[in-house]
């Protein structure tokens, strides 16, 4: 079974530039999550989708971050414009469970450096 795929693996940009991350969840997984993990901290949930609908985006900085999951499969997370404090690893996860958040499968993440 293929795992959660994320790209790119690394990204370096300058502040005020825009950046996009892509995630392809495990086939058949209805629920998709984006997390931000700053060095030395645990992952922080940014947004949760169930199929192509948003379940929770309460911690997504909507003035600069956006995410979409068209057709309920893969997803993109965008930052525009980026700030220095956005430097982090962005993790995508998926789960086959609907209605409960159990057994998340994580991708390897995209490491973003904002200079």
């Amino acid at each position: 079974e293929a795992g959660v795929a994320q790209s790119p693996r690394y990204k370096i940009i300058e502040k005020r530039q825009s950046v996009a991350f892509w995630c392809n969840p495990i086939s058949g997984h209805a629920t998709l999550y984006w997390y931000q993990q700053i060095l030395g901290q645990g992952p922080k949930l940014l947004i949760q989708f169930q199929n192509n609908g948003v379940v929770d985006d309460s911690q997504l900085p909507k003035d600069r971050f956006s995410a979409e999951r068209l057709k309920g499969v893969d997803s993109t997370l965008k930052i525009q414009p980026a700030k220095l404090e956005d430097s982090a690893v962005y993790l995508c996860a998926s789960s086959s469970q609907t209605g409960t958040n159990e057994k998340l499968f994580f991708g390897s993440g995209t490491q973003l450096s904002v200079l």
Binding site: G42, K44, E102, L104, F106, G107, S108, G109
Partner: protein, 107 residues
């Protein structure tokens, strides 16, 4: 915050020893999950314990849950160098993770 909080923040042991880490949470839960994160990688699901369970085993892992104290513990027996990683807990309602317990197992 509804995140789980892991304790201790860092733990260093030798191979063959047991490692115990703890998790505290604030709200009522239906389940609690433990995850492992190797350096530079995504998290890997280790074990899930439901609110009506007090103890659960999986290989060298043993998880306990005390809902009256809102706490859980993860025991890794006979630790190996490959167990070196960060360990996180989370409930189904609190998908934010704490800072985790950083475990170092030395040969």
């Amino acid at each position: 915050s509804q995140q789980g909080e892991e304790d201790p923040q860092a733990l260093s042991i030798q191979e063959g020893e047991n490692a115990t880490m703890n998790c505290s949470y604030k709200t009522s839960i239906n389940n609690l999950q433990w995850y492992r994160q190797n350096s530079g990688r995504g998290l890997v699901h280790l074990i899930l314990i439901r609110s009506n369970e007090r103890e659960k085993h999986s290989g060298r892992l043993r998880v306990t849950l005390d809902t009256s104290k809102k706490s859980s513990s993860l025991l890794i027996t006979a630790s190996r160098a490959a167990d070196t990683a960060s360990y996180f807990c989370a409930s189904e309602y609190a998908l934010n993770f704490g800072k985790g317990t950083s475990l170092l197992v030395t040969p």
